[in-house]
């Protein structure tokens, strides 16, 4: 592989990695900080994508649609967590497996609902930045992937600031460390976790809009992202926002280089091999607590 091609592969990998980070950041909160087995996270991403598609029918830009749908997804996240907590989390130590089944069920319900409402065909959106590219010298960069970089930076930076600079954000990090201590300090851990889960679900609106910007979606697309999003969240170090961005970029670059040179068939093996290697050396993940 020539040096020029390697350079292009790295740039493409950074863009791809930012996309992976953007779609994984909500899971880093739900699974990383709250220990909720949110296997339905990719399904919510697809739901967000279809939300952007639906609003796109009224002429709304997909990114704007994602922003508009964020409060709706936040409220849905509050409701889902409240039900999950009442039904599973509060009922003992073996609730984890049942909780996993619960979120699997939600994922299937979302998928089937989308099939019934929108059908099985691929859906896509239109925007000025889709289908075009900008040139940096000899390298052409798809604009939709540059949008992914922007969204990833906004989401990770926004969450990082929220978690470190606001009272509720610090409470969310505290509940991840020691719920009992937080309770002793007068905060209700359940309400904090519910709020955090709402935020995690809220990010799925914007990340979902990004999903349909990057590529057309169909109802079953979430299944392709289960492995990737959990890989990024775990590689990052559970609950770390900067780690999520770094992990996404590392995964994207590894995948891009392998797709370009070694043989595309090896891409999944390299990505997950990297995860295993990092966990073997640093079990808490790259930026883990």
């Amino acid at each position: 592989m020539s040096f020029e091609l390697l350079g292009e592969a790295i740039i493409a990998g950074v863009l791809l990695g930012c996309f992976y980070a953007a779609v994984s950041v909500g899971l880093s909160v739900a699974f990383g900080l709250l220990d909720v087995p949110q296997i339905a996270h990719p399904a919510f991403l697809v739901l967000g994508a279809y939300g952007a598609y639906y609003l796109g029918g009224f002429g709304v830009d997909p990114l704007l649609a994602g922003v508009l749908l964020t409060p709706v997804f936040f409220l849905a996240g509050l409701a889902v967590y409240r039900f999950y907590h009442a039904t599973f989390e509060s009922r003992g130590t073996d609730a984890g497996l049942r909780g996993l089944a619960f979120f699997f069920g939600i994922a299937f319900i979302v998928e089937v609902a989308l099939i019934l409402i929108f059908g099985v065909d691929q859906r896509s959106v239109e925007a000025a930045y889709i289908g075009k590219s900008i040139s940096l010298g000899d390298v052409r960069l798809p604009m939709r992937m540059l949008v992914a970089v922007g969204v990833a930076l906004v989401l990770t930076a926004g969450l990082m600031l929220y978690l470190s600079r606001t009272f509720t954000g610090r409470a969310i990090k505290a509940v991840a460390q020691d719920q009992t201590a937080l309770a002793l300090m007068g905060a209700d851990p359940v309400r904090i976790k519910q709020w955090a889960f709402g935020i995690a679900t809220g990010t799925c609106a914007l990340a979902g809009a990004l999903l349909i910007i990057v590529a057309p979606v169909e109802p079953g697309l979430g299944r392709l992202y289960i492995g990737r999003t959990f890989c990024v969240a775990v590689l990052a170090g559970l609950g770390s926002m900067p780690g999520t961005l770094a992990a996404g970029v590392i995964l994207g670059i590894a995948e891009s280089i392998v797709l370009t040179s070694l043989g595309a068939s090896w891409a999944p093996a390299v990505a997950f091999g990297l995860l295993l290697l990092v966990l073997a050396v640093r079990p808490a993940g790259l930026f883990g607590r």
């Binding site: 996309f19 691929q122 052409r140 590529a215 169909e218 040179s261």
Partner: protein, 422 residues
Amino acid sequence: MQAVSRRKWISRLGALGVTAGLALGGFFPASAHAQHPIRIGLSIAQTGPLSSGGKSGLVALEIWRDDVNARGGLLGRPVELVVYDDQGNPSMTPGIYTKLLDIDKVDLLVAPYGTNPSAPIIPLVKQRDLLLIGNFALDVNSQIRHDKYFNNQPWASAKDGAAPYLALCRKLGAKTIAILAADAEFAQNIAGGIRAGLKDYDLQPVYDQNYPPNTVEFSSMIRAIRAKKPDAVFVASYPSDSTAIIRSVNEIGIGDNVMLFGGGMVGLQYASIMESLGSMLNGVVNYHTWAPEKSMDFPGIRDFLSRYQPRAKQANADSLGFYLPPFDYAIGQILAQAVTATGSLDHKVLAKYLREHEIKTIVGSIRYGPTGEWANPRMIYVQFRGIADKNLDQFRGAGKQVIVAPDAFKTGEVIPFSQSRN
């Protein structure tokens, strides 16, 4: 004594009644049997990656069923379809077809739509010596060679499918080729056909990669292909990959040296994908089964499409129906002709008929070869030309999907990819 006698008479009368009933039932078997429908079992993707084709194929089969039943059914019996959703997933079809046979006890079988879900059930039907009508499965019987398998798709083998594309390469003077194929049955089969023919057509492979089916971004591979400067690029991909690849090519370019791009991209035949890609399709040369060109005006095809399209809209299925639906309707016609001509549902009898006779369908006359494939394959390659964005209706008429190969159906000469993009 009196009570015993009464019981004896009652039991004798009862036995007489049962005997009379059985006798009458035996005397009129046809009338009881006539109400029992002929059950045709199949699985077809109604969700999952192949669902866009699968749903449209199912609509076509339902139209055929309704047509047949409106004419009194087959052998005086109504036809019933027993359908399951296999999600396009090969791991589901053996279980589904076992259920169709052992629990649903269907009379006849149609294979799943697509190569991947069909391949696992060939050993099952071979073991049980059953008739199976194939549904767009490429090369699934080439090794097992089940003698009761009759595929309905217009190409006999991967080599036949690849030949027109390779002939186009020769026509354009291409010397080098890049091959990009998904790691799945159909894509590998058709890419294998290309690889097998390279020597015969003096083509040097400069890039040959398989990619995993869950790949979401193709720009890295497109860049790698561009760096190799091939004259032709053959892609064997599935619907979501096909869309991503076309978009990547449009965004980052494939190089001005490329004279031929496309080949085995599933999805570029679906209405929704053609509409969403729009002008990005211009210049792409891709396989198809039917296009609204003059050379494809088989008897009955236009009438079928005029009935299919409104029904597809209701069912949220492919609104054009050019790809799979005519062939799935033809599957019904194949079964109907064989059953009617032989007066039988015996699989051996039906298979013999299909092997020895020409079948008239809306996709033309079909004769089968020794492996159950079409004796005269006619997969076409179309070149997209003059496609505008956001306009589905443009695809209904001639001139947008110009047939460039094979010669028997050609409606225009192939234009080099880079030239036709302007």
